[in-house]
């Protein structure tokens, strides 16, 4: 009886999570440019449209470039910071950890508006590279949290052994720390990459008037009428996220990663 109830409960939650995606997947295979569900006819041409239509292709290219670069910059900011906090006793330096977590804790519109006023004041407003820095700051929380988790997991006796054998900081970092921390770098990068790909408000407020990322393109398309391409892009995004998170789960310890991530949030 309770087993039945539990299955039904999980089924309903699963349905709630999947239903919008099922309908959108249905819409995305319409034969004509209509937003019908169940779909009328079957065609995968709307998926081709993402790559063939120059507007959508440019948006895809902009989004992927932005995500690749900003996630890399986020990791570049987070790695030395969390290494320093792990290696040194410097309580005041924790303030930077706090600043790094702030953009993710505050409502996103605040970070977006702060960056908008900043870029407008400095005169760089609209430059594509400002979006890279903005996203890197906005998402630095993710590698910061995975990396501080990774560093606490390192057995200090390993490092001590290396130091006793005469290795300096640089050698220890390259031969001991880096191999141990690599999975956490990768998962931090993956989280930042996927979220940057999907991010709308910060991108819109920094470069929204001069270039379109995919979420901006979808939003603009929403205002000027529907096209099934929006549906196919959505499915592409969900699939990308699912594949990347599956890979993280396959090569890392996802429950552990999430167990610590959320507790760090508090």
């Amino acid at each position: 009886m309770t087993g039945m109830f539990r299955k039904l409960y999980f089924f309903l939650i699963g349905l709630f999570l999947a239903l919008p995606m099922i309908v959108v997947a249905g819409v995305s295979v319409n034969e004509k440019q209509t937003l019908a569900f169940p779909p009328k006819g079957f065609s995968l041409s709307w998926y081709g449209e993402i790559f063939l239509n120059p507007e959508w292709r440019n948006a895809l290219f902009a989004s992927v470039t932005l995500a690749v670069l900003s996630a890399a910059l986020a990791v570049a900011i987070a790695l030395p910071l969390s290494w320093f906090l792990w290696r040194r006793v410097a309580p005041w330096a924790n303030i930077f950890q706090l600043i790094g977590v702030a953009p993710f804790t505050l409502p996103p519109v605040i970070t977006a508006l702060g960056l908008l006023t900043f870029w407008a004041t400095t005169g760089f407003y609209g430059q594509p590279w400002t979006a890279v820095i903005s996203h890197a700051i906005f998402f630095v929380t993710l590698p910061l949290v995975t990396l501080s988790l990774g560093f606490t997991a390192i057995d200090r006796s390993l490092v001590e052994a290396a130091a006793t054998m005469g290795a300096d900081d640089r050698t220890i970092f390259r031969t001991v720390v880096l191999p141990l921390i690599l999975p956490y770098i990768v998962s931090g990068y993956a989280f930042a990459f996927v979220l940057s790909l999907n991010e709308y408000i910060v991108a819109y407020m920094t470069v929204g008037f001069v270039m379109e990322t995919l979420p901006i393109k979808i939003f603009n398309a929403l205002r000027y009428g529907y096209t099934p391409t929006m549906a196919s892009v959505t499915i592409l995004f969900v699939a990308t996220a699912a594949v990347i998170f599956s890979l993280v789960a396959r090569f890392g310890d996802l429950p552990k990663l999430l167990g610590a991530m959320a507790s760090d949030d508090k």
Binding site: V109, F245, G259
Partner: protein
């Protein structure tokens, strides 16, 4: 190698790049925003440096009070819905096989990473007349005619619960993983049904976690900037939507900044509450 305090100035070198980036591109923009909130707006969307309180004075209107009241009410309802739905779910999830857990976690993360644009688009499709869920009901013979379910408060609420549900599960997950399983076992041995054990043992044991989660989901829901706009009517706009609208479409940066500062203060107050709730939990 033990952790040690930095000996010489060179030991601080690794801190240089991260600290510079965070200060220049987060602290300074934040300060810029606060400064702009006191600036004087000019016709045509520009603003000049000044120190005026007129942007803050606009909070004293009935319109603003309505928006604020609605934003807070909506975020409270979303937080309660999410925690009520997610608490038993997360509890049961942590008791499942590892492999099953991972599949659910991947699915939840995928939904969580979706942008609001996509969630808004997906639900507006689901609630639309031409492609909506009502078509399925018509096919099943339950309804006679398909109809649009949006814009409406129900649509806004559904979309926001959808957005915040995975977040709620992931916030609850670590606390529930660590929950001592012998607690419920003891209750079961003494003859409590699983449902009774859940409500009389698990829920009280997690009281502080639940309060902290409610506040975190509340803050998360306050940040929703597109769903009320895409799925609701103008009276369903929240503070976040209004800030975006003022900054982008009305080009009134000083007023948008003033509202953002206000939103930060509300959020920080709530974070302080969360921390205090957490402290109490540790003491107990």
């Amino acid at each position: 190698m033990r952790r040690e305090a930095p000996q010489k100035i060179g030991d601080y070198a690794p801190l240089f790049f991260p600290a510079t980036m965070l200060i220049v591109f987060f602290v300074v923009p934040f300060a810029t925003m606060i400064a702009v909130s006191f600036f004087q707006r000019q016709q045509g969307g520009f603003y000049v440096p000044a120190f005026v309180l007129s942007n803050y004075e606009r909070f004293l209107s009935l319109f603003f009070a309505n928006v604020l009241g609605f934003s807070l009410m909506l975020a409270v309802v979303v937080a309660i819905c999410c925690v009520v739905l997610a608490l038993p779910f997360t509890y049961l999830l942590t008791r499942m096989k590892r492999k099953v857990q991972i599949v659910w976690l991947v699915a939840l993360l995928s939904v969580l990473s979706l942008s609001e644009v996509i969630i808004g688009f997906a639900w507006s499709t689901l609630f639309s007349r031409t492609a909506g869920i009502t078509n399925l009901l018509v096919m099943a013979g339950i309804m006679s005619e398909a109809k649009a379910l949006l814009p409406s408060f129900g649509a806004v609420l559904t979309g926001m619960v959808y957005q915040a549900f995975p977040y709620t599960v992931l916030v609850l997950y670590p606390a529930l993983v660590r929950l001592d399983p012998t607690l419920t076992e003891a209750a079961r041995t003494l003859g409590a049904s699983p449902v009774k054990a859940f409500f009389t043992v698990v829920v009280p044991a997690l009281r502080n976690t639940i309060v902290a989660t409610l506040i975190m989901v509340f803050i998360f829901a306050l940040g929703s900037y597109l769903l009320p706009q895409l799925l609701g009517r103008p009276q369903h706009w929240t503070l976040s939507v209004l800030i975006t609208d003022q900054a982008i479409y009305q080009s009134n940066m000083p007023f948008a900044a003033a509202m953002a500062v206000f939103l930060v203060l509300v959020t920080l107050g709530l974070v302080a509450l969360t921390v205090m709730a957490g402290r109490k939990g540790e003491a107990a």
